[in-house]
Amino acid sequence: MKQLTILSGKGGTGKTTITASLAFLARKAVLADCDVDAPDLHMLLHPEVIKTQEFKGSKLAVIDKTKCDNCGFCREKCRFDAITKATEVDPIACEGCGVCAAICPADAITMIVRISGYAYISKTKYGLMAHASLNPGEANSGKLVTLVRQNARILFEKENSDLIIIDGPPGIGCPVIASVTGVDIGLVVTEPTMSGIHDLQRALQLLAHFNVKSLVTVNMHDINFDNTEKILRFCEENSIEVVGRIPFNPKVIEAMVNGKSIVEYAPESDVAKEIENIWKRCRASLNLGNG
């Protein structure tokens, strides 16, 4: 089983556009949208949900007001400022640790399991897809990412597939770590801006930290040639392969508005041609042959 995660550090560099295109080109890969906070891949792949699963991410403290004598001990001990002055639980701040329930002298607090979101298994034109949605304001996106990846592995076992393609979230924190651990390659999508370069470096450090091989692609490389040059030099100095340079093209947004990946919407465009090239180089790097 091979796994490829598309990540970026900085948001909005084109992860999902590239993931959807790779899904189209791969045809039989299993897909996983691990950007559970703000999943967008479904808008290009139009999954048909075949299975829904509740995600029980964490517990929540509930105070029985008939037993509570307002001593405030729970408020004092809560490290998450989740107990209000009126001795009520702020469900958004509560991380479900259980300290309040353990120390309440009146035994007025119980911990209940809460449903923080849903995980889905879906059919798409390009293969099966594992994805999820986190309920607004819920925590534990890292755990939900882990569930999506488990589901993707189950689908992989059933299907005659050779690859799982994972659309990662932005950043370098817990959901990103959960999206890259144990994968074969992290493809970092960057852009030639100061923040793009800065965030690329942190994303590459993260991959190195977890021993994941990295590849880089520069999106909208023609927005700033000097910065693109800097990225290429940086990657060369650090022996990181740059697998593509995608030009800026308004057709990418047009494709999104039409709910299609760019390789499907405008297969003859310069962007589509370059993504095909990226796909070939990813396959080679994953030792998947020429497919």
């Binding site: 900085k10 703000a38 958004i92 607004p136 925590a139 534990n140 924190g173 852009e191």
Partner: protein
Amino acid sequence: MIVAVASGKGGTGKTSVAVNMALSVGNVQLLDCDVEEPNAHLLLHPNTHRTEPVYILVPHINEELCLRCGECAKFCQYNALFASPEKVLFFPELCHSCGGCTLACPRQAITEEERRIGALKFGSAGEVELIYGELDVGEPMAVPLIKAVKKQIENNRNVIIDAPVGTSCPVIETVRETDFCILVTEPTPFGLHDLKITVQVLRKMSVPFGVVVNRAGIGDKKVYTYCEEEKIPILLEIPYQRRIAELYSKGVPFSLELSDWKEKFQTLFGETKRLVEE
């Protein structure tokens, strides 16, 4: 007044709006709470005065007192402790620093010690004071560092916060107890979809908000229809211009180079203030 600038979708222009607004208003505290990928300093170019490490408390197990009874591991909701018959193993990256294990241990064998997760950086550029957090690479937990950044808020000042991307815990911690949230979006299907999720979060948290449409002119008109239907004020539109994108790519706040924008950002801030006072 504390204003957060947020967005569900990444790359819509949060940092650009936060920094341009801070520069236009002048005497403000600018906090960058995107501790995973802080970028405000790349536009603001501050002189950095000092750096302060940020720690969280994690358990330290006294092996001599520990009976390997497993009560600590049973209590821990985050699987950060695992009790084998020989030894209790601790996985620091999973620890939420709740302190529960110290309470659960019947032998008082657990004390707490500090573990570094990142740093606070203090700087300034002209009248703008910048404070930002930088999470150490490999550390999963952004929230404690965001709390450390927000502790620096001076309540009598105008504060602008650059929020992290997304809609989960780091964003929630950032916008908690702010007076207003400016949501930056772009008029595309992804922009709209992620805006809708963020609106649900803010409504749940009862934080008032308005929208800035960046890259106006690309994509479609659905963001406008949605805002109209939901009665969400559109506070500012920033047109898609190659020149703005180029300036951003070089790390230059565009309000310094393009005329009228300083006034537009001042108006944005003024309008925000008016909505808060309403």
